[in-house]
């Protein structure tokens, strides 16, 4: 770091900070000692001691710890300002401007749509294939968002329903030759039925307990699929699942990939539309009540049982349909695609993007799927970068990258009060 930058920071830095950062630097040097300093040369059977690396780590963590402290201070300062003064300086974000001028929103949506339509034509099959995967996760994240973001129920085994959808298509096709288009709704319905069956015993639980039980169901599904050879062909999985085609025509791999892409794009649009409508519906309001305070909601005469079940049923339906598309895309499925890690990844997308916020969840899903993909160049570091991004977002934007719009109402409300001369 240059001297000028240091001078700019100097007024924030006290002796205490320097001491803290020094301790931090030592701690990091200690932590990274085994991997950064010691190197065993297996050819000559000697140990290299790379002390210079330790120095770099020390200096880097010393500086970074100051930057970190500064950023935390600034964030807290901003929060304190917002709380202490009733005057809230509202920064005009892109979203505010979008809300003021619906034109921008319309044009923006149109641009995104045009890009989405042209994407497979402009780019190659490889990129299209990556985008299909990303959009599948968008659908999954939007589906999980119904339970977690809108309903406030922490569900960890969500990928089960994705798996049910995928296996529905694979098995129905294997045994009865069912085509992709018929399997699409069936996969959703099947996942929904399984979802409701699991939900009935599970929904008596709340919070952590619900999370643990759904996590267990996720593992049960995977283990059953791995061992029940008669049904699922075990770990060897089901291969040669046909790609989607149209009107019984023979499609090349490229053509069906493009078709799959358009199917998922249309499906994403439908999903966004329906989730948006759900949010504004009575059911959406019941979900809000459930998320906020279940007992109070019950006292308002809301049938919590039905509300929860509806959240589960709708959410799992989406996962099922996405599963069918997944099976059609990869043409091969086995239980390894439906591990706990996948469930957690989808949950990360929802939390990182902003629970309950559709644009947030979509961008969360895109970032989490595309970031590691495009970071392949730094293949060794990509999981590290990925982890760092997660931590940074959670520290600096704990409500997610694009928080739910509800928060927005409140800020307007407070400034609205001020205008009316309150306080």
């Amino acid at each position: 770091m240059s001297d000028t930058a240091k001078n700019g920071l100097s007024r924030y830095i006290t002796a205490k900070d320097v001491k803290r950062s020094a301790i931090m630097a030592v701690w990091f040097m200690f932590l990274t000692f085994p991997i950064m300093v010691i190197k065993v040369n297996t050819v000559t059977d000697t140990v290299e001691w790379r002390w210079f690396n330790m120095l770099i780590i020390g200096v880097a963590s010393f500086i970074l710890s100051h930057v970190w402290k500064l950023m935390i201070d600034r964030r807290e300062g901003r929060m304190a300002d917002a709380v202490s003064s009733s005057v809230i300086v509202e920064k005009k974000t892109l979203r505010d401007r979008m809300e003021e001028k619906p034109m921008i929103k319309k044009v923006g949506s149109l641009v995104i749509l045009v890009i989405a339509v042209l994407f497979p034509i402009v780019t190659g099959m490889y990129q299209t294939s990556i985008m299909i995967t990303a959009l599948l996760y968008v659908v999954l994240a939007l589906g999980l968002n119904i339970i977690v973001g809108l309903g406030g129920l922490l569900v960890l085994g969500y990928i089960v329903f994705y798996g049910v959808g995928a296996y529905t298509y694979a098995l129905l096709n294997y045994h009865f030759g069912l085509n992709f288009w018929l399997a699409l709704p069936l996969g959703g319905i099947f996942a929904m039925i399984i979802g409701i069956l699991i939900a009935i015993p599970v929904l008596r639980l709340r919070g952590d307990y619900l999370a643990i039980v759904t996590l267990a169901f996720g593992e049960i599904f995977r283990i059953v699929m791995e061992n029940w050879n008669g049904l699922s062909f075990g770990p060897s999985g089901i291969a040669n699942i046909p790609r989607p085609t149209l009107f019984g025509l023979d499609f090349s791999i490229q053509q069906s990939t493009t078709l799959t892409y358009y199917v998922i794009v249309i499906f994403v649009i439908i999903t966004i539309f329906i989730v948006r409508r759900l949010e504004d519906s009575r059911l959406g309001r019941a979900w809000v009540a459930m998320r906020e305070d279940e007992i109070a909601g019950e006292a308002m005469g809301i049938d919590m049982w039905k509300t929860k079940l509806a959240a589960f049923a709708l959410s799992t339906f989406w996962a099922g349909v996405a599963g069918v598309i997944f099976a059609g895309k990869t043409t091969f499925i086995n239980p390894a695609s439906f591990t706990m890690w996948e469930s957690i990844l989808v949950l990360c997308m929802v939390v990182l993007g902003g629970m309950g916020s559709i644009p947030g969840v979509i961008s969360g899903a895109l970032i989490i799927t595309l970031l590691p993909e495009y970071l392949r160049a730094f293949s060794e570091l990509r999981m590290l970068i990925f982890g760092a991004v997660l931590v940074l977002v959670m520290v600096f934007k704990p409500e997610g990258m694009i928080p739910a719009i509800r928060q927005k109402y409140e800020f307007k409300g407070i400034t609205g009060n001020k205008n009316k001369g309150d306080k």
Binding site: A289, I295, M300, I302, E410, N417
Partner: protein, 235 residues
């Protein structure tokens, strides 16, 4: 209006209510007073269906509502304001009120009711766009009562509205409860620890001790009663 016969409620093996009888007539304010752990809240929870009773009967306008789910009881006009207020902290005051009218579909009347509630509690009108969680304790209690009113109750169950509030706010809230009772002809069943104020507000009172009703009389008589004075009024 509301009649409770030999009600017994258990939490697991522990009997919280040991056969209680209460009667609330139309247009009355009836209060149930008693010490901590006497079973007051359990009584309310049993009535509103949150904790199903094991035996006994609860009749609302002659209809048996024992063991019915809350979402079946609320449309019948029995609304509970739960203990500890339980407003929706992340929703604004207006949205909270809107939630209270969840089961209603008569939008025009809902709007008028919101105005009425804002007349009762002008402070809520000022704070209508503020988040519920940022209100003071007293304002939250007002909001909780208002939210219950939005459901058009014929009988309103209040669980310790004085809990954790400054005496002056408590007085204000009790005055409003009286006003609601007079203006809207809403029957009120009030559970309270603040025996003095409760007995002064209500028409009829029940005294509860360890799961049993030990005394039932008009509030005037209870206020004069030696035992009540000693045990609950600190005289």
């Amino acid at each position: 209006m509301l009649k409770i016969e030999k009600l017994e409620t258990y939490y697991g093996n522990i009997q919280a209510l040991k056969g209680i009888d209460i009667e609330v007539s139309e247009g009355e304010i009836v209060t149930l007073i008693g010490a901590n752990g006497a079973g007051k809240t359990t009584t309310l929870m049993s009535i509103s269906g949150v904790v199903p009773p094991r035996s006994g009967k609860i009749l609302l306008n002659g209809e048996d509502i024992t063991g019915k789910a809350p979402d079946e009881i609320v449309p019948m006009g029995l609304i509970q304001v739960p203990e500890g207020r339980r407003i929706f902290p992340d929703l604004t005051v207006s949205e909270n009120l809107d939630m209270g009218a969840f089961l209603r579909k008569d939008d025009a009347q809902i709007k008028r009711d919101v105005e009425y509630v804002f007349e009762l509690f002008p402070i809520l009108s000022e704070r209508r766009n503020q988040r519920g969680g940022t209100l003071s304790g007293g304002e939250q209690q007002m909001l909780a009562i208002s939210r219950a009113l939005m459901a058009k109750p014929r009988i309103l169950l209040l669980d310790e509205p004085s809990l954790g509030l400054a005496p002056i706010i408590v007085q204000q809230i009790f005055d409003i409860v009286k006003k609601i009772n007079e203006e809207q002809k809403t029957t009120v069943f009030l559970v309270e620890q603040n025996a003095n104020l409760a007995l002064k507000t209500a028409h009829k009172g029940y005294v509860m001790e360890t799961g049993r009703i030990t005394m039932a009389d008009t509030c005037e008589n209870l206020l004069k009663n030696d035992e009540v004075q000693k045990a609950y009024l600190g005289m």
